[in-house]
Symmetry: C4
Subunit: 250 residues, 4 copies
């Protein structure tokens, strides 16, 4: 087994693998990236064109329908149509080691380069530690000339936020794609960090679709966000009650 293996679906001709834009939505805080990318794949009818396996993923298999297992992997999806051609990078996990994060991200941008990608969008969550009424979409870019574009689309620059930098593929792909002359934009939806956050994902989707100039029905995401909202509301009320009871006792 190679440390990292990329296997393209041979049924897809090389010329049917290219696209000018790649969107990364690997698992991370609030699963914001994963929600956005998987929603777009579904709405645009993108199809899987490659699988990536690696010794840097957790050493396990996942169990699917009918008990059929498959190795942990990352996957490349592609759609091509009226709205344009897009590549999506999604997956089960990111690297379990620091070195693996670098080596995997390098492979991702090398694939992008090979497939003609000119701009990579990486999507993530920005955990703030508390529930937010109106989350912002914090952004970062790998080239100064991209800043205005992102602001026009509704993203904000966090004045040094996130202070700790951007960890994992969402950050490294921006850094590693620059020398390949690939533009990189990271969109991070503010989120509590406690729960999967479709509301934050819906806001990121809005900014992203403005940036790539297409429209995507956010209905499903918004529906899930609505359900989540109710759940969070209940959580907060329950917490408030407990506090009131405590202060009553006190």
């Amino acid at each position: 087994m190679e440390d990292i293996t990329v296997v393209f679906d041979e049924a897809v001709a090389p010329e049917d693998r290219t696209a000018p834009v790649m969107i990364e939505g690997l698992p991370g805080i609030g699963h914001v990236g994963k929600l956005v990318a998987e929603h777009m794949i579904q709405e645009l009818g993108a199809v899987k064109i490659a699988e990536i396996q690696s010794i840097y993923f957790p050493p396990q298999v996942l169990i699917g329908e009918n008990g059929v297992v498959r190795l942990c992997n990352n996957e490349l999806y592609r759609c091509s149509g009226e709205k344009g051609s897009f590549l999506f990078l999604i997956g089960d996990f990111q690297s379990t080691s620091n070195e693996g994060h670098y080596l995997l991200s390098q492979v991702y941008v090398d694939i992008a380069h090979e497939l003609g990608v000119k701009r990579i969008y990486t999507i993530g969550g920005y955990g703030v530690g508390h529930f937010i009424e109106t989350p912002r979409v914090i952004t970062a870019v790998n080239k100064e000339s991209l800043s205005q574009l992102v602001i026009d689309a509704g993203g904000v620059f966090g004045d040094g936020e996130p202070g700790g930098g951007i960890i994992g593929a969402a950050g490294l792909m921006l850094g590693l794609s620059a020398p390949l002359e690939i533009e990189g934009i990271c969109l991070m939806g503010e989120t509590s960090g406690y729960l999967v956050d479709p509301k934050s994902a819906a806001l990121v989707l809005e900014v992203l679709t403005r940036l790539i100039g297409i429209s995507i029905d956010p209905a499903n995401l918004k529906e899930r966000a609505g359900e989540m909202e109710v759940a969070v509301q209940r959580l907060l009320e329950q917490e408030k009650k407990s506090e009131e009871e405590l202060s009553y006792i006190g």
Copy 2:
């Protein structure tokens, strides 16, 4: 020292190393796999044909009879007779690192491939966190067409269980053998996860022998299971007593 070394017993001719079926019983939850594989090795009179050493095992030697040490290893046993030919993979430890799990499992399935194996059974325990009256044998496969076979033999598909996937060699060997056209079936006996569990092992043995079409006397395993049962019963009673005393005090 190579990262992973496989040394075959040269006294065993290459044609006496092959078998259509490999059974993996490396250490894991409840030592279910280890109990099943070692019991079968004993009952079928399988003999050791290879040793596997690796820098991914714990850095220590084990002390045997008369204080003679040996390196930690994994071992390949084989039997061949009226009931058919079988290979068994057992050992002291699994990998101490994530990457090592992948690299070792790849070596295991490569060996299987080389020795003509067409189907691999991996055996493990499925820890549920409490003692179980009638454990089930949860199963997973690496090819949908195997499902009915396993159900007919008494295995059950856990509807997404185990949710966390199957960790270590038992899972990875299924995933890594698929591209080599080797069928893979994982049998996991439900077990508390607290103790070595021969009762769970005896149930897995039942399903496994039905699958491979041979009969093996489960007497030894059942005897150990009986003793264990008594011990667990005492544990539970003692626990109950303590609770009663506590509620009495309360």
Copy 3:
């Protein structure tokens, strides 16, 4: 991506990269080394001539002005003028793994060797666990003949201090440069270990500038040290008050 990549600014001719002295100020205890080296770079107008990236750094990017990201790196600065030519090694992080510390430090001394460096100064903090009125500059060398020099400049040998040795690049660069016939001197400013410590840095700067025979205006460092002093004083007073209150309650 190579495990460690060194990229020189091609606009700087090879003959404009050399210097007889290298000063290392990577992050560490009290950020003493970082403060000293960055202050010198500013005062001497040194310019960046190389960037070092590595899979041994944390897997993240840092966000700069206007939200533009860059990979974590270590950087080589150089100045050349009346006061002499100097190389500076600074950066965001040190290695995240033990092995990486060795491999990166080896690269650093190899670069030094290539660029004609005859002496390396490594700067660090020596954490003592409490606030110090008059910190000493503890020193270590990689060649006995350097001892007197350092003492004459105001450094002291700590009689076996630090007992645990010198960890990270500050130590390893001394050890690894010896076989390359590069002299190595480590200057460690005593510091609490709790805070960034410009006061300790100012004292190290004094000893260092005496050693390299130049003068550098310590005003900025001293100003920051003054501000820090006030902050620490307040911390200590607050602590004292809390204790008095506690003993009053008691």
Copy 4:
């Protein structure tokens, strides 16, 4: 830097590097091995013939006299005289990673093989968790025919002790030297595991010198053991007093 570097003192001719016996005394429980090997080196006037450096050692330098640093290392000493020729392997640390333990131990036995070693003695402590009046010397061998020899010299086989096997170089060198036809004997002095234990070391020295057929003055070791004894006695008395006081209060 190579992962592991062995540098022989070129002033020592190849024929003056050989010996039939190697004694390993790297740091470990109670520093029993280190005490024994260093005592023998001193008493027999052995001289250093090689240094071993590695990225698997902790990433730091150690500070010696006059503040002169040196890289962490392992060292090979040799003596040759009326009493015979002996090699000693001592050092500052063992590996910081599991894989490194294997790779370093393999290098150690390869060196032994190259230098004509026919038997390796590895020395360690066997931590039992409490102070022992009369420690035993537990032994292990890599060849059954060595057992009687060791028993005759006063070693005992611990009936499966240590149950957890022998961890680190003391164990792995026995396991890895067997295929090179080098005999291996491990002597482990029982010790509390809390303190450096010269008393246990003196007992191991007794068994070891009987095995290699030479006499070595244990005076220094015994003196240190006497001092340690007094210290331990005081510790135990103090503990007893505290308990009496507590029961008085109670």
